[in-house]
């Protein structure tokens, strides 16, 4: 299948693995930012093909995982309000709030619907003028243009029973937060390919220069990731710290200008709290004042609250790449996909879910005679 099979070819993967072995002379720690990349790595076993000196750590690129507990609780409160149609991407429905998740609200009679696009939610608003329709606008920069378009269209079409519960986060501030941390071990990055399809990669240039880290814009297939790692290691071995683009078939340096324009028109940069990490200044998107009527938090007048995360959950450390899922004592025992303590075990892009689904425990994997 075009654009899929070529990038999953076993022989090409082996050749990349060989080439990597040849150029790697020192230990390197590289972070892949995007949850989709984490999943591909674990699912296809890409990390098994890397030389032992190269360590991949998983970053906070899972928008579901980093949506703060307080916002999940607000979502639950809104979804439980009579007359509301609450629309969301599927993954958000299973993220644990304080005592329940959105699926439980649905089971108890709330009108919670999975949609594939915010424009579907807008359509539902148009077709149900007597109901309040709220869309859970989660994501990095990748999903921001579609969410912006939904608000833009709502305004143009005079649809007023529609609002967004916004939880957008931005990648560059997260990378800076990781790099400026005293416990940082990350020496190079694989940047999130689809984020860069929208935003381009000019904003990474000052980061690479300031912290002296190579950043390679990388795709999501196994060969993309292998090539991205190769390019990153090559830079590290050569002492370079530049932006390179592995994902040339989908990313240009300047990105998608009309999409960026729409984002700027509808959203502005705000501080955001990242679940498990804390507040990072200037790291999120919120609606511009002129679109304030489409903000669900304002419309539903929800009070600010604060909740404690379960103490055993170390998803914050996992999202920062400081620990791996197997380092967590709760992993696979108290914390499983049926009984998740944190969002990283719930989301299809979460590191813990990926490891649980494909690796369970390292020792069990060995016992299963998996390595060939």
């Amino acid at each position: 299948m075009k654009f899929i099979d070529e990038y999953r070819d076993g022989r090409a993967a082996a050749r990349f693995a060989q080439a990597l072995k040849k150029i790697t002379t020192k230990p390197w720690t590289i972070m892949e930012v995007c949850g989709g990349q984490t999943h591909a790595i674990v699912k296809f076993g890409v990390d098994e093909l890397l030389p032992s000196q190269v360590t991949l750590v998983h970053g906070p690129g899972c928008p579901v995982c980093v949506t703060p507990l307080e916002l999940i609780e607000k979502a639950i409160e809104i979804a439980s309000t009579p007359g509301v149609i609450f629309c969301s991407f599927g993954d958000m429905l299973r993220v644990p709030g304080n005592t329940k998740d959105l699926l439980a609200v649905k089971a108890a009679g709330g009108d919670v619907r999975i949609v594939y696009s915010p424009l579907d939610a807008l359509k539902i608003a148009r077709e149900n003028p007597d109901r309040q329709v709220v869309f859970f606008a989660v994501g990095f920069e990748t999903t921001a243009p579609a969410n912006a378009m939904a608000v833009f269209q709502a305004s143009r079409q005079g649809i007023h029973n529609f609002s967004l519960l916004v939880s957008h986060v931005l990648v560059p501030p997260a990378m800076e937060a990781i790099l400026s941390s005293s416990t940082n071990r990350v020496q190079g990055f694989l940047a999130a390919g689809h984020v860069c399809t929208v935003m381009g990669y000019t904003e990474y240039e000052p980061i690479a220069a300031k912290y002296r880290v190579p950043i390679v814009v990388t795709g999501f297939e196994p060969l993309d990731i292998l090539q991205g790692v190769y390019m990153c290691v090559r830079q590290l071995e050569e002492g370079r710290a530049e932006i390179e683009n592995q994902y040339t078939r989908a990313v240009r340096r300047e990105g998608n200008s009309p999409a960026q324009g729409l984002i700027r028109d509808v959203f502005r940069i705000v501080p955001r709290k990242w679940r498990g990490i804390g507040e990072i200044p200037q790291s999120g998107l919120g609606l511009q004042p002129k679109y304030a009527e489409y903000d669900a938090e304002t419309r539903f007048g929800l009070a600010a609250t604060s909740f404690e995360e379960p103490r055993e959950c170390i998803s914050g450390l996992i999202l920062q790449g400081v620990k791996k899922p197997h380092d967590c004592p709760a992993f696979g025992t108290v914390c499983t996909p049926e009984h998740p303590l944190g969002a990283t075990m719930v989301s299809s892009e979460g590191a813990c879910a990926a490891y649980y689904r494909y690796r369970r425990r390292d020792s069990r994997q060995q016992a299963a005679g998996g390595m060939q």
Binding site: K43, R94, N98, L103, G278, F307
Partner: protein
């Protein structure tokens, strides 16, 4: 960078309610994956508990006089009622016929219970019933008893159908996960993922370049051909909800052995793969309605495959793996790029990707 700082917090549970303790039934409890299993293990089995039920197979096999009979039931709640490649009627017949075949039985007689929503067009009912007749004739079974109920408008999705079936075991074989042995060949009868994608495409109004049709079909003919040729079959499982992955995991767990498969050996239609890639679905977990896996003695693997290839429904049959003597009860898969991973059951339903 610090973890969440403690501020004014409400006294509450420190961890969310785990799924098995939810006070309400969730859609996922009907998904065929982990939650369905939990419901069966924790609710139905303890209450009804008897040796026949505890085999946890697709149907119950028991002796009546000198005959061995198989008995099974299934309910059909699919929406939309009509989809490319079939309808609720064909599903209702073929699903139960297939469950009997998975016990190694020749399907004979079916019952059908209809729960019809007030307001359903009579023409729709007529179409469904005609489909059922056609499917029954194809599978060589008769509908011999039935029941009809009508519920208020809004209390049913058009029509729900339950079918139960009886079949006869003629070949002296015992087919069950406990019969699976190390060295057994794992055979798959055809390409996977068609039914689930066909339904999803219709339900969500997704359009692909070519219409993907459900694979809904009776596989009893294929199974009878294998049995009649004396193939040493240890276990059979048809792939329904939860897909290929769930069927293999169930058998691995029940047999206590390791099932090793190769990703590259699993056939999928290009269109189905494309749809799955767009939606972020794994074809291994997508529903099928006309496919099964068989665990056969290694000496009979080649012969079984050539028999399946002679049948139009089995022309894509292939070997996808082997049972090893590792007592792990896990399914492991070698990926296209040569690395290995565990194949697990999903908890809850597969959810489309976000970005």
């Amino acid at each position: 960078m610090e973890n969440d700082t403690k501020s004014r917090s409400t006294p509450a549970f420190s961890c969310p309610i785990p799924i098995e303790q939810y006070p309400h039934v969730l859609l996922a409890h009907g998904g065929g994956g982990k939650l369905t299993h939990q419901l069966i293990e924790k609710l139905f089995l303890p209450i009804f508990g008897n040796p026949l039920l505890e085999t946890r197979h697709d149907g119950a096999v028991f002796e009546l006089g000198s005959q061995r009979l198989a008995f099974t039931t299934d309910s059909y709640v699919v929406r939309p009622l009509f989809f490319p490649g079939g309808d609720i009627g064909t599903l209702a017949i073929n699903g139960t016929v297939n469950d009997l075949a998975m016990c190694g039985a020749r399907p004979l007689y079916l019952s059908a219970g209809f729960i019809i929503e007030e307001g359903l067009p009579m023409d729709t009912l007529w179409r469904v019933v005609r489909s059922m007749k056609q499917a029954a004739d194809s599978a060589g079974v008769q509908l011999v008893t039935g029941d009809t109920k009508v519920v208020d408008r809004g209390k049913g999705d058009g029509v729900f159908i339950n079918t139960a079936g009886i079949g006869i075991l003629q070949h002296g074989v015992t087919i069950a996960p406990t019969r699976v042995k190390p060295g057994d060949a794992v055979l798959l009868s055809g390409d996977i993922g068609r039914h689930g994608i066909a339904i999803m495409a219709m339900r969500e109004g997704l359009e692909f370049e070519s219409t993907i049709e459900s694979d809904c079909a009776a596989v009893s003919g294929l199974v009878m051909a294998l049995l009649e040729a004396g193939i040493e079959i240890h276990c059979l499982r048809d792939l329904t909800r939860g897909g290929l992955a769930s069927a293999l995991v169930e058998i691995a767990e029940a047999s206590g052995l390791q099932v090793q498969i190769e990703e590259a050996a699993i056939p999928t239609l290009e269109d189905v793969r494309g749809a799955c890639e767009i939606l972020g679905f794994d074809p291994m977990y997508v529903a099928n309605e006309g496919r099964f896996v068989s665990f056969v003695a290694p000496k009979d693997a080649e012969k079984a495959l050539s028999l399946l290839h002679e049948h139009p429904l089995g022309n894509q049959a292939c070997r996808i793996g082997t049972v090893t003597d590792d007592a792990s009860g896990l399914v492991t898969m070698k990926s296209r790029i040569g690395a290995s991973r565990i194949v697990d059951m999903l908890s809850g339903e597969q959810l489309p990707r976000i970005c």
